[in-house]
């Protein structure tokens, strides 16, 4: 009788712990991210303004307004390197229900706040391969629906330099150690990585997108190249 009662209590405690764990992962973590995203969204415009002021102070070119006449010679508009763990961009993917502020860094604490940019890769909108990682199941699951994307779907990343529009080219499933997907590329690319399948960190879902419009598009691909058609 005593044994059965002990077993019963163990099961009740184990059940309570599992319930608490799932509640924390699926709901509690989302509260942490929602708070960080809310605060970052309020600060983003000011961060953009400060970045532009930083560029001007350094004598670097600042991207013109979209309606301004284009330069005869394409210019590379640089992006100030954001400080670690700070918000610096906004990513919008309508087909995957993504609209999140992006933070600098992919450490545990960075990804709690939202999608994070790998600091050792170029910034979005710059030549090369910019990599952004994000949670799929916990912490508000910013990349939950990334598997809904198809080739041709648009991705927009807004930074201090302007709005950079990408088009999805490829969707891959790889192993967590397949670092080749983060390696640099010719042109201007955006690589998104998240866990796969949902609720498991066993593999990675990777979305590869190419820059098709934005301040640096002409510099990277030349003024007359129609990348979208390619």
């Amino acid at each position: 009788m005593r044994l059965i009662r002990g077993f019963g209590w163990t099961m009740i405690w184990a059940g309570g712990l599992i319930f608490a764990f799932l509640a924390y992962q699926l709901w509690g973590t989302g509260l942490i991210t929602a708070k960080a995203q809310r605060e970052a969204a309020q600060d983003l415009d000011q961060i953009f303004e400060e970045s532009v002021a930083e560029l001007e102070a350094a004598g670097l070119p600042v991207a013109p307004e979209p309606e301004a006449p284009a330069f005869a010679e394409p210019v590379l508009y640089p992006e100030p390197v954001p400080s670690s763990s700070s918000p610096f961009a906004r990513i919008q993917i309508p087909a995957a229900n993504v609209d999140h502020i992006v933070f600098e860094g992919v450490e545990r604490d960075d990804l709690k706040k939202g999608p994070g940019h790998m600091p050792w890769t170029p910034l979005p909108g710059q030549p090369g391969n910019a990599v952004i990682s994000g949670h799929r199941t916990t912490y508000e699951a910013p990349f939950y629906d990334l598997d809904l994307l198809e080739a041709g779907d648009p991705i927009t990343v807004q930074t201090a330099t302007g709005s950079h529009r990408y088009t999805v080219r490829e969707i891959l499933i790889v192993e967590p150690s397949d670092v080749w997907v983060t390696e640099d590329r010719e042109g201007a690319w955006l690589t998104l990585t998240t866990c796969h399948p949902k609720a498991s960190a066993r593999q990675r879902l990777v979305v590869v997108a190419e820059l098709v419009d934005g301040p640096n598009h002409a510099f990277v691909y030349g003024p007359s190249d129609d990348v979208e058609a390619g």
Partner: protein, 49 residues
């Protein structure tokens, strides 16, 4: 069981209550740490490295 554990604590009531508070805080911190590490099996942020 909780009552039995409380009774097993040493000292007068004040000390016992203080000990309970400390133990609960330590347990919650340990649980949060454990939950966070265990959460990596569900979703670790999708970083490739």
């Amino acid at each position: 069981m909780v009552k039995r554990l409380y009774n097993a604590l040493p000292g007068p009531t004040g000390v016992r209550i203080a000990l309970v508070v400390v133990l609960v805080v330590v347990a919650l911190i340990a649980l949060a740490f454990l939950f966070e590490r265990a959460g990596d099996f569900i979703d670790n942020g999708g970083v490739i490295r």
